[in-house]
Protein backbone atom coordinates (compact mmCIF):
# COMPACT_ATOMS: atom_id res chain seq x y z
CA UNK A 1 0.00 0.00 0.00
CA UNK A 2 2.65 2.50 1.09
CA UNK A 3 4.97 1.46 -1.73
CA UNK A 4 2.18 1.74 -4.30
CA UNK A 5 1.44 5.35 -3.24
CA UNK A 6 5.13 6.24 -3.31
CA UNK A 7 5.41 4.66 -6.78
CA UNK A 8 2.50 6.76 -8.08
CA UNK A 9 4.00 9.98 -6.65
CA UNK A 10 7.43 9.41 -8.19
CA UNK A 11 5.94 8.38 -11.53
CA UNK A 12 3.81 11.56 -11.61
CA UNK A 13 6.92 13.65 -10.87
CA UNK A 14 8.73 11.94 -13.74
CA UNK A 15 5.81 12.55 -16.12
CA UNK A 16 5.64 16.25 -15.27
CA UNK A 17 9.40 16.67 -15.64
CA UNK A 18 9.38 14.88 -19.00
CA UNK A 19 6.15 16.29 -20.36
CA UNK A 20 5.72 15.34 -24.06
CA UNK A 21 5.11 11.75 -23.02
CA UNK A 22 6.74 9.18 -25.33
CA UNK A 23 6.35 5.40 -24.73
CA UNK A 24 10.08 4.73 -24.25
CA UNK A 25 10.42 7.64 -21.79
CA UNK A 26 7.42 6.32 -19.88
CA UNK A 27 9.02 2.86 -19.59
CA UNK A 28 12.27 4.38 -18.30
CA UNK A 29 10.22 6.34 -15.76
CA UNK A 30 8.50 3.16 -14.55
CA UNK A 31 11.90 1.45 -14.11
CA UNK A 32 13.35 4.47 -12.26
CA UNK A 33 10.30 4.71 -9.98
CA UNK A 34 10.52 1.00 -9.10
CA UNK A 35 14.20 1.49 -8.22
CA UNK A 36 13.41 4.55 -6.06
CA UNK A 37 10.62 2.74 -4.22
CA UNK A 38 12.89 -0.28 -3.66
CA UNK A 39 15.63 1.91 -2.13
CA UNK A 40 13.72 4.43 0.04
CA UNK A 41 10.30 2.78 0.30
CA UNK A 42 10.56 2.09 4.02
CA UNK A 43 11.66 5.59 5.00
CA UNK A 44 8.78 7.74 3.72
CA UNK A 45 5.04 8.02 4.39
CA UNK A 46 4.48 7.06 8.01
CA UNK A 47 0.68 7.23 7.60
CA UNK A 48 -0.21 5.73 4.21
CA UNK A 49 -3.95 5.52 4.86
CA UNK A 50 -4.29 9.31 4.66
CA UNK A 51 -3.19 9.35 1.04
CA UNK A 52 -6.00 7.16 -0.32
CA UNK A 53 -8.99 9.25 0.77
CA UNK A 54 -10.16 11.65 -1.93
CA UNK A 55 -11.88 14.25 0.27
CA UNK A 56 -8.49 15.16 1.73
CA UNK A 57 -7.24 16.20 -1.73
CA UNK A 58 -10.39 18.30 -2.10
CA UNK A 59 -9.66 20.12 1.17
CA UNK A 60 -6.01 20.55 0.17
CA UNK A 61 -6.76 22.12 -3.21
CA UNK A 62 -9.82 24.22 -2.39
CA UNK A 63 -9.18 25.19 1.25
CA UNK A 64 -5.46 25.02 2.04
CA UNK A 65 -3.88 26.34 -1.16
CA UNK A 66 -6.09 29.49 -1.49
CA UNK A 67 -5.45 30.32 2.18
CA UNK A 68 -1.69 29.97 1.70
CA UNK A 69 -1.68 32.08 -1.46
CA UNK A 70 -3.74 34.79 0.24
CA UNK A 71 -1.40 34.84 3.27
CA UNK A 72 1.64 34.95 0.95
CA UNK A 73 0.29 37.97 -0.89
CA UNK A 74 -0.49 39.79 2.35
CA UNK A 75 2.93 38.87 3.79
CA UNK A 76 4.80 40.17 0.78
CA UNK A 77 3.01 43.50 0.65
CA UNK A 78 3.60 43.79 4.40
CA UNK A 79 7.31 42.98 4.00
CA UNK A 80 7.72 45.43 1.11
CA UNK A 81 6.12 48.25 3.10
CA UNK A 82 8.26 47.37 6.10
CA UNK A 83 11.48 47.41 4.06
CA UNK A 84 10.79 50.63 2.18
CA UNK A 85 9.30 52.57 5.12
CA UNK A 86 11.72 55.27 6.34
CA UNK A 87 10.91 54.70 10.04
CA UNK A 88 9.23 51.28 10.39
CA UNK A 89 7.34 50.11 13.47
CA UNK A 90 9.62 47.29 14.49
CA UNK A 91 9.24 45.12 17.59
CA UNK A 92 10.94 41.79 16.81
CA UNK A 93 11.14 38.81 19.10
CA UNK A 94 10.92 35.04 19.34
CA UNK A 95 7.65 33.78 20.84
CA UNK A 96 6.72 30.25 21.84
CA UNK A 97 3.43 28.77 20.68
CA UNK A 98 1.78 25.40 21.15
CA UNK A 99 0.20 23.09 18.60
CA UNK A 100 -1.80 19.89 18.97
CA UNK A 101 -0.50 18.32 15.75
CA UNK A 102 1.86 15.37 16.27
CA UNK A 103 2.19 13.87 12.79
CA UNK A 104 5.54 14.66 11.14
CA UNK A 105 4.23 15.74 7.75
CA UNK A 106 1.43 17.80 9.32
CA UNK A 107 3.97 19.61 11.52
CA UNK A 108 6.14 20.33 8.47
CA UNK A 109 3.16 21.72 6.57
CA UNK A 110 2.17 23.83 9.59
CA UNK A 111 5.68 25.27 9.95
CA UNK A 112 5.90 26.05 6.24
CA UNK A 113 2.49 27.76 6.29
CA UNK A 114 3.42 29.85 9.34
CA UNK A 115 6.61 30.93 7.56
CA UNK A 116 4.42 32.34 4.78
CA UNK A 117 2.32 34.48 7.18
CA UNK A 118 3.02 38.24 7.54
CA UNK A 119 6.17 38.91 9.54
CA UNK A 120 6.62 35.42 10.93
CA UNK A 121 9.21 32.70 10.42
CA UNK A 122 9.63 29.44 12.33
CA UNK A 123 12.98 29.12 14.12
CA UNK A 124 12.69 25.71 15.78
CA UNK A 125 10.21 22.92 16.46
CA UNK A 126 9.91 20.68 19.50
CA UNK A 127 7.86 17.79 18.11
CA UNK A 128 7.51 15.77 21.35
CA UNK A 129 5.82 18.55 23.32
CA UNK A 130 4.29 20.33 20.32
CA UNK A 131 6.05 23.68 20.72
CA UNK A 132 6.95 26.00 17.86
CA UNK A 133 9.39 28.92 18.24
CA UNK A 134 8.34 31.71 15.89
CA UNK A 135 10.35 34.83 15.09
CA UNK A 136 7.80 37.61 14.74
CA UNK A 137 8.68 41.03 13.32
CA UNK A 138 5.90 42.82 15.19
CA UNK A 139 5.19 41.10 18.50
CA UNK A 140 1.62 41.79 19.60
CA UNK A 141 1.08 39.00 22.15
CA UNK A 142 3.77 37.59 24.41
CA UNK A 143 1.88 34.92 26.38
CA UNK A 144 1.49 31.52 24.82
CA UNK A 145 -2.31 31.24 24.65
CA UNK A 146 -3.05 34.53 22.89
CA UNK A 147 -0.06 34.18 20.57
CA UNK A 148 -1.20 30.66 19.69
CA UNK A 149 -4.64 31.99 18.83
CA UNK A 150 -3.16 34.54 16.42
CA UNK A 151 -0.40 32.44 14.87
CA UNK A 152 -1.33 28.77 14.84
CA UNK A 153 -5.09 28.39 14.92
CA UNK A 154 -5.97 29.35 11.35
CA UNK A 155 -3.84 26.70 9.65
CA UNK A 156 -4.22 24.14 12.42
CA UNK A 157 -7.95 23.83 11.77
CA UNK A 158 -7.35 23.22 8.05
CA UNK A 159 -4.50 20.76 8.58
CA UNK A 160 -6.56 18.77 11.09
CA UNK A 161 -9.06 18.15 8.30
CA UNK A 162 -6.33 17.17 5.83
CA UNK A 163 -3.96 14.97 7.84
CA UNK A 164 -6.15 13.42 10.58
Amino acid sequence: MRKLILFIISLLTWIFLDWPLLPLNFLIGVAASIFVVYVVGDLCLKTPGVWSQPQRYFYYIFLYLPTVVWEMTKANIDAAIHILHPDPAFKPGIVKVKTILKNEIALTALANSISYMPGMIVVDIDPENGFLYVHWNDVKHQEMTSATKVIVEKFEKILLKIFY
Binding site: V123, H135, V139
Partner: protein
Protein backbone atom coordinates in the same frame (compact mmCIF):
# COMPACT_ATOMS: atom_id res chain seq x y z
CA UNK B 1 -2.81 40.28 -24.78
CA UNK B 2 -1.49 37.23 -22.96
CA UNK B 3 2.08 38.29 -23.79
CA UNK B 4 1.62 41.67 -22.12
CA UNK B 5 0.06 39.95 -19.09
CA UNK B 6 3.17 37.79 -18.86
CA UNK B 7 5.45 40.83 -19.08
CA UNK B 8 3.37 42.49 -16.35
CA UNK B 9 3.91 39.50 -14.02
CA UNK B 10 7.65 39.45 -14.80
CA UNK B 11 7.94 43.17 -13.92
CA UNK B 12 6.10 42.63 -10.60
CA UNK B 13 8.44 39.73 -9.82
CA UNK B 14 11.51 41.83 -10.57
CA UNK B 15 10.25 44.62 -8.30
CA UNK B 16 9.78 42.17 -5.42
CA UNK B 17 13.23 40.66 -5.99
CA UNK B 18 14.82 44.13 -5.85
CA UNK B 19 12.91 44.95 -2.65
CA UNK B 20 14.21 41.71 -1.13
CA UNK B 21 17.75 42.73 -2.00
CA UNK B 22 17.25 46.15 -0.41
CA UNK B 23 15.87 44.50 2.72
CA UNK B 24 18.98 42.36 2.97
CA UNK B 25 20.98 45.59 3.44
CA UNK B 26 18.55 47.74 5.44
CA UNK B 27 17.28 45.47 8.21
CA UNK B 28 19.26 45.15 11.47
CA UNK B 29 19.85 41.46 12.28
CA UNK B 30 20.12 38.06 10.61
CA UNK B 31 16.57 36.99 11.51
CA UNK B 32 14.67 39.86 9.90
CA UNK B 33 17.13 39.95 6.99
CA UNK B 34 16.57 36.31 6.19
CA UNK B 35 12.82 36.81 6.53
CA UNK B 36 12.81 39.68 4.03
CA UNK B 37 15.05 37.82 1.60
CA UNK B 38 13.07 34.58 1.80
CA UNK B 39 9.61 36.10 1.45
CA UNK B 40 10.28 38.66 -1.26
CA UNK B 41 12.51 36.36 -3.30
CA UNK B 42 10.04 33.47 -3.14
CA UNK B 43 7.10 35.51 -4.41
CA UNK B 44 9.28 37.43 -6.88
CA UNK B 45 10.68 34.30 -8.48
CA UNK B 46 7.23 32.69 -8.53
CA UNK B 47 5.85 35.74 -10.34
CA UNK B 48 8.67 35.63 -12.89
CA UNK B 49 8.03 31.91 -13.51
CA UNK B 50 4.29 32.60 -13.87
CA UNK B 51 4.96 35.32 -16.43
CA UNK B 52 7.24 33.05 -18.44
CA UNK B 53 4.59 30.30 -18.27
CA UNK B 54 1.97 32.70 -19.68
CA UNK B 55 4.32 33.65 -22.53
CA UNK B 56 5.48 30.15 -23.58
CA UNK B 57 2.21 28.29 -22.89
CA UNK B 58 1.66 24.69 -21.73
CA UNK B 59 4.35 22.88 -23.69
CA UNK B 60 7.49 21.08 -22.45
CA UNK B 61 8.99 24.30 -21.02
CA UNK B 62 5.72 25.28 -19.36
CA UNK B 63 5.46 21.98 -17.49
CA UNK B 64 9.02 22.31 -16.21
CA UNK B 65 8.19 25.84 -15.04
CA UNK B 66 5.22 24.54 -13.05
CA UNK B 67 7.38 21.88 -11.39
CA UNK B 68 10.04 24.51 -10.62
CA UNK B 69 7.49 26.83 -8.98
CA UNK B 70 6.05 24.00 -6.87
CA UNK B 71 9.48 22.87 -5.67
CA UNK B 72 10.48 26.48 -4.89
CA UNK B 73 7.35 27.11 -2.83
CA UNK B 74 7.63 23.82 -0.92
CA UNK B 75 11.37 23.92 -0.16
CA UNK B 76 12.20 27.62 0.41
CA UNK B 77 10.67 27.73 3.94
CA UNK B 78 12.60 24.61 4.91
CA UNK B 79 15.90 26.17 3.81
CA UNK B 80 15.15 29.43 5.64
CA UNK B 81 14.16 27.48 8.75
CA UNK B 82 17.39 25.45 8.68
CA UNK B 83 19.51 28.61 8.38
CA UNK B 84 17.64 30.36 11.22
CA UNK B 85 17.86 27.33 13.50
CA UNK B 86 21.61 27.07 12.91
CA UNK B 87 22.02 30.80 13.61
CA UNK B 88 19.98 30.64 16.84
CA UNK B 89 21.79 27.56 18.13
CA UNK B 90 25.24 28.98 17.46
CA UNK B 91 24.29 32.05 19.49
CA UNK B 92 23.83 34.84 16.95
CA UNK B 93 22.20 37.63 19.00
CA UNK B 94 18.92 39.33 18.17
CA UNK B 95 18.93 43.05 17.52
CA UNK B 96 18.75 45.42 20.49
CA UNK B 97 15.20 46.51 19.67
CA UNK B 98 13.90 43.02 20.40
CA UNK B 99 11.16 42.81 23.00
CA UNK B 100 11.10 39.10 23.85
CA UNK B 101 13.18 35.95 23.33
CA UNK B 102 11.42 32.92 24.74
CA UNK B 103 13.71 30.48 22.99
CA UNK B 104 16.69 31.32 25.17
CA UNK B 105 14.88 31.44 28.49
CA UNK B 106 12.93 28.19 28.30
CA UNK B 107 14.80 25.77 26.09
CA UNK B 108 17.58 23.84 27.79
CA UNK B 109 18.83 22.30 24.54
CA UNK B 110 20.74 25.47 23.65
CA UNK B 111 23.43 25.19 26.34
CA UNK B 112 27.00 25.23 25.12
Amino acid sequence: MINSLGVFFIIIGLIFDVIGGIGLVRLPDVYSRLQAAFKCVTIGTSNILLGVLLIVGFNATGMKILVCAAFLIFTAPVAAHALLRAARRSGVPLTLQSVVDQYESEDVKTDE
